[in-house]
């Protein structure tokens, strides 16, 4: 399957996770990885399954590399109907606004009529889990869901 992974990061943890997903699943799927800073909302290919990975900063804000995309999306009436996406967050439960960055991004995408597949999972920098240990099974499940949806259609 064709999959586009888009990440928003500040210190690079989310970028590393994106690369890990690509190396883990790249032989089974046609995966393209991009920084959200290099993508404009109107350029998204609505026929491709998108996986968003996004951390949180400040007081539950988006990380720097996701901000221009979010601002552009917020300021536009881009219609994302038909776009299927899943979203995974990176955060730190020390902050009351745990996972709010990915939540904001998910809400915006849905508001622009994209269809979210499966739950948003958040890796906690305080916890003992490695991000990839949570994200790999989550990614497989989301891909299976999208495959089932496409088969049904």
């Amino acid at each position: 399957m064709k999959i586009t992974i888009l990440y928003g990061t500040e210190t690079g943890n989310t970028e590393m996770l994106s690369e890990d997903l690509e190396s883990e699943f790249g032989s089974d799927h046609e995966i393209e990885v991009k920084n959200l800073s290099d993508v404009a909302p109107e350029d998204l290919d609505l026929t491709v399954f998108h996986v968003f990975l996004c951390s949180s900063y400040g007081d539950g804000e988006l990380p720097a590399s996701a901000k221009p995309f979010a601002e552009a999306l917020g300021a536009s009436d881009t219609d994302l109907s038909g776009l299927r996406f899943a979203i995974f967050g990176l955060g730190d439960s020390d902050y009351e606004t745990f996972g709010h960055g990915s939540e904001q991004l998910a809400d915006m995408l849905v508001k622009h009529k994209a269809e979210q597949v499966g739950p948003r999972l958040i890796h906690d920098a305080q916890g003992g889990d490695l991000a990839e240990d949570l994200a790999f099974p989550w990614f497989e499940e989301r891909v299976a869901e999208v495959e089932a949806l496409s088969d049904a259609a």
Partner: protein, 427 residues
């Protein structure tokens, strides 16, 4: 042969630089050298012990050594000729095609006022190094405070210090803050912390979330003064909003009062018998004066160069400091390049730009005939490597006290004993 690059300093800038270089050209041979036996710079020795999530960025850096072929060379102090050290910068440049200085800025900026040498005046760098068990602190007297502490400065480092001083002994769960430090703070019985800065509150340097975090500790009372100086600020100013969340906190059983004051410049520290007794401040226009009785003053107003690598001359003579180019084959990154400003993410962007400049310059350089690390390994027999760090790391995680995630080895000797498999076992 591939070009050989020595990055001096294994802090965030050095590590991000290695990461970016290899993204641009994975054939490069990259070594990261540090004067300490262990990597990660201020991620290990500056970022607060109770901010383990932030320290998590070290997992990215570990990849460099574990999977991406970068070599860590620890316990090698590089200096210019007149500052001791084990090898000079000039010698190192002979061994590599490119040397990058990413050694940070470790020295506490002085206030430049009378009384700074009094007993009871501590710099934020010295204090946070001690709290993070930096080996340079090992042979210094333990950092301690009296009952009234004045913190001068309003940046995030000041907020880290206020938070740690004002937390209860039991509030360090999940951190790697040594129990010996927590006990010493508790024993001091701090009753009042004055946090005082030059800017008005709405322009203070701290991140609002850092202020709010201080409010989460139990049994603190807060006082916020000088808000009249911010009368003209926007209603949605996030710093004022953060301070407002503290203003209402005043429990009956408060252990300690944390008082924020704004718009004051320090003019003099006053003591008796060589010991600090008070700190004096004035308004910028001289209209008012303030005298704060203090057992301890902590200065948190920034950092500067330790002069050991001749930074001032290198920067002044730089080919193009904005891209990190100091001289042919010599570059600078991170705090060393741009000054003691900016958080970890800013160093990432900075290092990406410097890496691009290096790779651009390398394109017109002949293939390498430099010996690189082989020459260092032949000359020095007490270098540490990444496997040594892994042994130290494992030991520190295996010997933790209750409620902590790590118990740091505090002395260079103990680190080297484990690192070099010397017979002495760490105490």
């Amino acid at each position: 042969m591939p070009h050989k690059i020595a990055i001096l300093g294994a802090g965030p800038s050095g590590c991000y630089l290695a990461q970016s270089l290899l993204k641009l050209d994975d054939a490069l041979e990259v070594d990261i050298i540090d004067r300490l036996p262990v990597p990660y710079g201020l991620v290990r020795y500056g970022v607060a012990p109770d901010h383990q999530g932030t320290k998590g960025v070290a997992r990215q850096f570990a990849r460099l050594f574990e999977r991406q072929g970068v070599t860590f060379i620890g316990n090698l102090d590089v200096c210019t000729g007149d500052h001791g050290g084990e090898i000079t910068l000039a010698e190192l440049r002979e061994l590599y095609d490119v040397v990058v200085l990413a050694t940070g800025l470790p020295t506490d900026q002085k206030l430049g006022i009378e009384g700074e040498e009094l007993e009871g005046v501590i710099g934020s760098g010295a204090l946070t190094r001690a709290w993070n068990d930096h080996p340079d602190s090992h042979d210094l007297p333990p950092a301690k405070t009296g009952k009234t502490v004045t913190v001068i400065g309003n940046g995030n480092v000041a907020m880290d210090i206020v938070r740690i001083l004002s937390k209860g002994e039991g509030e360090f769960e999940g951190s790697d803050f040594g129990t010996h430090h927590a006990e010493r703070i508790a024993a001091a019985g701090i009753e009042r912390i004055e946090v005082i800065g030059r800017s008005p509150a709405h322009m203070a340097k701290f991140d609002p979330v850092m202020v709010k975090e201080i409010g989460k500790s139990a049994r603190l009372r807060f006082e916020i003064a000088d808000l009249q100086l911010s009368a003209g600020a926007e209603a949605d100013n996030t710093r004022l909003q953060a301070l407002a969340t503290l203003a209402g906190i005043a429990p009956d059983d408060a252990r300690c009062t944390v008082s924020f004051r704004f718009g004051w410049s320090p003019v003099r520290l006053v003591g008796a018998g060589g010991k600090l007794t008070s700190a004096h401040f004035t308004r910028a226009d001289g209209s008012e004066a303030l005298d704060l009785p203090s057992d301890t003053v902590i200065t948190a107003i920034g950092f500067c160069d330790d002069a050991r690598l001749g930074r001032a001359d290198l920067v002044a003579g730089a080919t193009d400091i904005d891209s990190g180019r100091l001289a042919p084959g010599l570059y600078a990154a991170g705090w060393f390049r741009r000054g003691p400003r900016g958080t970890i993410p800013e160093n990432r962007a900075d290092s990406q730009a410097v890496a691009a400049a290096i790779v651009e310059d390398l394109a017109s350089l002949a293939a390498s005939d430099k010996p690189g690390r082989a020459a260092l390994q032949a000359r020095f027999d007490r270098l540490t490597d990444y496997a040594a760090w892994q042994r130290i790391d494992e030991h520190e995680r295996a010997t933790v006290s209750e409620g902590r995630v790590r118990s740091k080895l505090r002395s260079r000797r103990d680190m080297l004993a484990l690192a070099l498999n010397e017979t002495e076992t760490p105490s």
